[in-house]
């Protein structure tokens, strides 16, 4: 039982990171019909920025964190939207998908070529003293991953459902043309979504880097898992991405513990296939008509 609880906590913890990343897929898809295959690299780049500010330049943590979020939102939010999305948005889904694949390769191999192909250490953010609850031992990182991810998702949900900007985002998600006719500045909202996504990616980066280290290619697996999570949960619902992320995290942790590490990814893929066959809109997603 002890092992089961510990594994469950570990699964939920890693699932929280997947969920944070998966939410980005949902946000971008909803407002700009962009399936961002550079989502993993959107997490990696802020991790490298944090290493630069915190480790290389030795800035205080809080300043480094703010600078990282600023860099992330500027480069991966505003710049990507202006240079890539604005120009390709009117051409349909496929050119944007191909462009994001190109962007992911560009970020990944630029980091490898111009920084380092090696894994970089990242200082621990939370205490490395384990929390003992009877026979159950969990880490501060696991607890904080879940709490912070929950906090971010909750705040995002409130923003989308309780604010004018959030309502406007929902309107754009449902029908961009109609939203524009109603006077909503669609372009500004798409920019806002990209900025939000970049900020979420920066948070995920800071949570994941101390344990998994900072390396140019860690975004490949992370982006893929988040993509599974978004599809499993529902590509058009933030709560769906949360559910999908947690499910993928828990399933891969349990399959690695009770079956074999070799099957870690296989079970997440099996769930993905089952969802695509039986409930293509996702476990918590809603069926939708194509909106232009």
């Amino acid at each position: 039982m002890t092992d089961f609880v510990q594994l469950l906590v570990a699964g939920i913890s890693i699932g929280s990171i997947y969920a944070l990343t998966a939410i980005g897929f949902v946000l971008l898809w909803q407002t700009s019909n962009t399936i961002n295959f550079a989502q993993g690299e959107f997490v990696v780049l802020p991790a490298f920025a944090m290493v630069l500010f915190l480790v290389v330049l030795r800035w205080p943590f809080a300043i480094a964190l703010v600078a990282t979020i600023l860099v992330s939102t500027l480069l991966l939010g505003w710049l990507v939207k202006e240079l890539l999305v604005t120009r390709l948005l009117t051409m349909g889904v496929l050119p944007l998908v191909i462009a994001t694949i190109g962007l992911s390769l560009f970020i990944r191999y630029s980091l490898q070529q111009f920084w380092t192909p090696l894994a970089l250490p990242f200082p621990p953010i939370f205490p490395r003293v384990p929390i003992r609850l009877g026979t159950i031992i969990i880490s501060w990182e696991e607890v904080m991953n879940v709490l912070l991810a929950g906090l971010v998702v909750g705040a995002l949900q409130l923003f989308i459902t309780r604010t004018r900007l959030g309502w406007a985002m929902q309107a754009v998600a449902q029908n961009r043309t109609l939203a524009a006719v109603l006077g909503i500045d669609v372009s500004r909202l798409v920019t806002l979504t990209f900025v939000l996504n970049a900020a979420l990616a920066a948070v995920a980066a800071i949570l994941i880097a101390p344990v998994y280290l900072v390396k140019y290619d860690i975004g490949i697996g992370l982006g893929l898992k988040a993509f599974y999570a978004a599809i499993i949960g529902g590509f058009n619902q933030i709560r769906g991405a949360l559910l999908g992320g947690l499910l993928v995290g828990v399933v891969e942790t349990f399959s690695a513990a009770y079956i074999s590490s070799q099957f870690r990814d296989a079970f997440a893929l099996l769930i993905l296939l089952a969802v695509l066959l039986l409930k293509p809109e996702g476990l918590w997603g809603v069926k939708e008509e194509w909106a232009s």
């Binding site: 192909p117 090696l118 250490p121 384990p130 280290l213 290619d217 697996g221 513990a257």
Partner: protein, 387 residues
Amino acid sequence: MRTVIALGVAVIAVVAIAHVGSTQDALKLAIVAEITGGGAPSGTMWRDGVLLAVEDINKAGGVMGRRLETLVMDTQSDPPTSVAVMRRAINERPLAIMGTVYSSSTVANMEVARQAGIPQISGSESVLVVQKGNPNIFLTSFSQQVGFAKLVKWLVEDLKADKIALIYVNNAFGRGGREMFLKFLKDRGKSVVADISTEVQQADFTPELTRVRASGATHVMIYNHEEENARMMIQIRKLGISVETVGDNLCAQTTIEAGGEALNGAKCHVPMTALSPVPGMVAVGRKFQEKYGRVPDHNAFKAYIGTHLVKAAAERVGALDQAKIRDCLHNNLFAAAEEPGLLMDMSMDDKGDADRSSCIVQVKNRKPEVVKVLSMLAGPYTRRTCR
């Protein structure tokens, strides 16, 4: 005008002849290594070790009076890619091929080098590499067959380890290590309490570590690549698992640099280290650090020694005949007194497996400290003249 053209042609001809002359003089060494991908921590150390050795050899007059020249080729840590890269390397007609480090790659590409008859000096350690009966492959460190015999002896006799868990990476390197580890434990009437595989580039090890804790192990033998070793040690500390961690590349400099404080306390059997009491090794370690700004790990030393091994064999043969060099390397003893770049005496058997002395280290304050020096596993070996 004609004079100008004639002069121009003459200058170009002289430059071209000089260029051809210089490339004919130089002997090529092809470095085929994991410059990018998961194996980059090992491969880049290997590359820099060869480059440093080549610089030293050239300063001392080269190999039989000829300069060495290097070509660096990246396998991207991918075995199929390494086969294609090996074919490209062979087209350059090098004297020898230096690499690869990843055993999975070496197992895949060594047949290509054998067919070309170009001696291949590898940084791999998997027993699978020397079990294939390939007469063209030479390990610059001992294989797991020698390394694990020494490691298990130390683990059982010195550390008195009884409940041992094994975590290994599921590839040629890891499986070869597992096979040898279990064999030598069995020879001593012991077995492991947990036998756990992991995947290359795995990030989360919580499930595996939960199994280690549940097994009641007092010692865990960690046998992954450097990057995964670092992640695993961070997670062991974060989960507060009280188990003694042992390994070999677990204490590699690249593991320590990535894992930081989490590596403190790890104990390892290492073929070579910059903090070894061997004076030559200390000097090379210092030179490497000055040149590349980082502490060399065992892969850098393996590469440095391997390059000098090619030189020693060629000079013992007295000709740049690759078949003779290959024969000379088998069943032979090479002494550091004869070729100082070898740093330590080493013996090569008929399968291309090496034997030499090694160290037991413990990581303290992010540095591996030598706590014991182990002598060669077997011997005494004899020196063969190859002429």
